[in-house]
């Protein structure tokens, strides 16, 4: 594994990090070492293995379709087709004022930022 300086700069650009030349050097060599270690994942044969995209087995992770809450299920676990999701109903947000009061630069009801639209 060899991470080039260009790789580091490309990733920093994607991550919106304005790295100093020293950081480019340091992270380049550290990422290289870490990725070499992570290379051991290539040892395993993962053909026909489904990637794990849910943190819980299916029995605990109900399908995310619409539908009513799980209250009717005898086990308390949402049955197939039911959902952990709330009804899609608009609820009032009462903390907008507080959020803006703590913001770095607010002009109610907006956050103010440097100009993004050129005339």
């Amino acid at each position: 594994m060899k991470i080039s300086r260009e790789d580091v700069l490309r990733v920093a650009e994607l991550a919106h990090l304005d790295l100093s030349p020293e950081e480019v050097e340091l992270y380049g060599s550290q990422l290289d070492e870490i990725l070499s270690y992570i290379g051991k994942l290539q040892e395993l044969d993962v053909t026909n293995i489904e990637p794990m995209t849910q943190s819980l087995p299916r029995e605990f992770a109900p399908e995310r379709r619409g539908g009513s809450a799980h209250a009717g299920s005898p086990s308390g676990v949402a049955a197939e087709g039911e959902s952990n999701l709330r009804e899609d109903v608009v609820e009032p947000c009462t903390i907008g004022g507080e959020v803006l009061a703590y913001a770095p630069d607010a002009a109610k009801p907006f956050f103010r930022v440097p100009k993004v639209i050129e005339r």
Binding site: Q30, K40, I49, L56, P57, F60, N84, P104
Partner: protein, 481 residues
């Protein structure tokens, strides 16, 4: 009551009911302890005495009116500074949130306060919970109260140190790859990580959303059960908070353990383990066998791939979650001529080295051309690690391992070598990836007096079984074996 009274949740309750102490006096007692030791330990970043005393006064008023006491009435609690507290500064151990004040409470906080607990303050941690030693905090490291030249572990180092030093009776931590269990082991106290989805993550400032969990540090297992009873359950504000019934932990943990099958994976006792840790954990397993548990030898063949898998999955999720820190809506803003310049300067100045390193690693793993080789492959290996656990729980009711390969290391010992630091999590990340619950319990000390942790994994939503074994181990003297 003396300031050194060894409080438990039950003894607090009894003392309050018998009017031997008021909740206000108890709160003041704990603030006095914090005053005495926090300068040295650096466990708390922010104290919120107004909030704690207001809660204590509500509890005292309830007692005066003869009302029934809620389950955690007057219990002094510390909270890791990644959990949102309305009106109380929440930094995540980062400069980028140095002045951030949340406008809402995390569900875990709401539940604790609804149960009568008094929140004393917010505890130090590795920046955005990224670290294994608490040395990545922008506000300085925490010292281990057992040996102050050593780390308390991380990332929930402040919470672990606060409970171990008696500065709080209970503390909340968060665990993504070991951040509750490893500091629990290093500081010598029980440290509980529930099943993924057992406790709502609403208001927990995200590190890696598919791994993050909230759980308690306590001084004993009955307290862990009492806090879990308050925290567990579904939450309409977190669709991943599972609607699985919550058992009566307090009675479940007192059941006998005779006949339970304890699985011991050979893969956790190999290369790299400190001989004293190995010796004590083996002695701990032998104690459980004397209590009637049946030892089952296990093979979990993908264990050695867990660190590599974890550092792809967790950093990929972190790079996405931390994209929100751009100086627009909250926290630090470094001015720039353009919006993009503001983002970049804010993030460059606001994030510390480990956070930047992980954002870089995660961004790389998700970037075009590398996604299949790193992220997708890691998700597949994660499935294999989860399968190891599923097969192990066909043969065993619980899995017993060391919590960490070594006891607490010295401050500064591993800061120059990120990979060596990552390997401190080798026994904890497996359960994090599989989504199962785990607890670290004290299992004696090294000759030098450093605490050792024994880890118990339960199956998904098997907290009761896990705590039952921990309780039997505690009762039989395992903590001081």
């Amino acid at each position: 009551m003396t300031p050194t009274a060894p409080w438990t949740i039950t003894s607090v309750r009894e003392a309050l009911q018998a009017k031997k102490i008021s909740a206000r006096e108890l709160t003041a007692d704990f603030y006095a302890r914090i005053d005495g030791r926090n300068l040295e330990l650096n466990a708390f970043l922010t104290l919120c005495p107004e909030r704690a005393y207001a809660q204590a006064d509500r509890v005292d008023a309830g007692i005066a009116h003869g009302a029934a006491l809620p389950p955690l009435a007057g219990v002094p609690v510390a909270v890791k500074d990644v959990l949102s507290t309305r009106g109380v500064r929440t930094t995540c151990g980062s400069r980028i949130l140095e002045n951030y004040i949340p406008a809402y409470d995390a569900t875990a906080i709401e539940r604790l306060e609804a149960a009568g607990a008094a929140i004393l303050g917010k505890t130090n941690c590795d920046e955005f919970a990224m670290g294994s030693s608490n040395e990545n905090s922008a506000y300085g490291p925490v010292r281990n109260p057992v040996a102050t030249d050593r780390v308390p572990g991380g990332s929930s180092g402040g919470s672990a140190a606060a409970v171990a030093a008696g500065l709080a009776l209970v503390a909340l931590g968060t665990d993504t790859g070991g951040s509750i269990r490893q500091p629990g082991a290093y500081c010598g106290i029980p440290a509980t990580m529930p099943t993924y989805g057992r406790v709502s993550r609403y208001g927990l400032i995200a590190f890696a959303s598919s791994l993050d969990r909230i759980g308690p540090f306590t001084t004993n297992i009955a307290d862990a059960a009492a806090v879990m009873a308050v925290l567990a359950g579904h939450d309409p504000n977190d669709s991943t908070a599972a609607a699985v019934p919550v058992p009566d932990y307090a009675s479940e943990i007192e059941r006998p353990v005779q006949g339970l099958r304890i699985g011991v994976p050979e893969d956790y006792f190999g290369e790299g383990i400190d001989p004293e840790v190995k010796g004590k954990v083996e002695a701990g397993i032998a104690l459980l066998e004397r209590l009637g548990c049946r030892r089952v030898s296990l093979k979990m063949p993908h264990t050695s791939y867990a660190i590599a898998t974890y550092y792809i999955v967790a950093t990929a999720e972190a790079s996405s979650n931390l994209a929100r820190y751009d100086g627009v809506r909250y926290g630090l803003r470094v001015p720039g001529a353009t919006l993009m310049e503001m983002y970049r300067k804010t993030r460059e100045r606001g994030f510390g080295p480990e956070v930047k390193r992980r954002i870089m690693l995660g961004t790389y793993a998700l970037s075009s051309g590398y996604y299949d080789a790193y992220y997708l492959r890691a998700q597949k290996v994660r499935a294999l690690i989860a399968r190891d656990f599923a097969e192990a729980f066909d043969k065993a009711d619980a899995i017993i391992t060391p919590t960490s390969p070594t006891p607490a290391f010295k401050l500064g010992e591993k800061t120059a070598d990120p990979l060596a630091m990552y390997l401190a999590d080798i026994y904890t990340v497996t359960g994090s990836l599989a989504g199962v619950p785990g607890i670290s319990v004290p299992c004696g000390k090294t000759k030098a007096g450093l605490p050792i942790g024994l880890q118990i994994f339960g199956p998904h939503f098997g907290e009761a079984r896990m705590l039952q074994l921990a309780r039997a181990f505690e009762k039989a003297g395992g903590f001081t074996i």
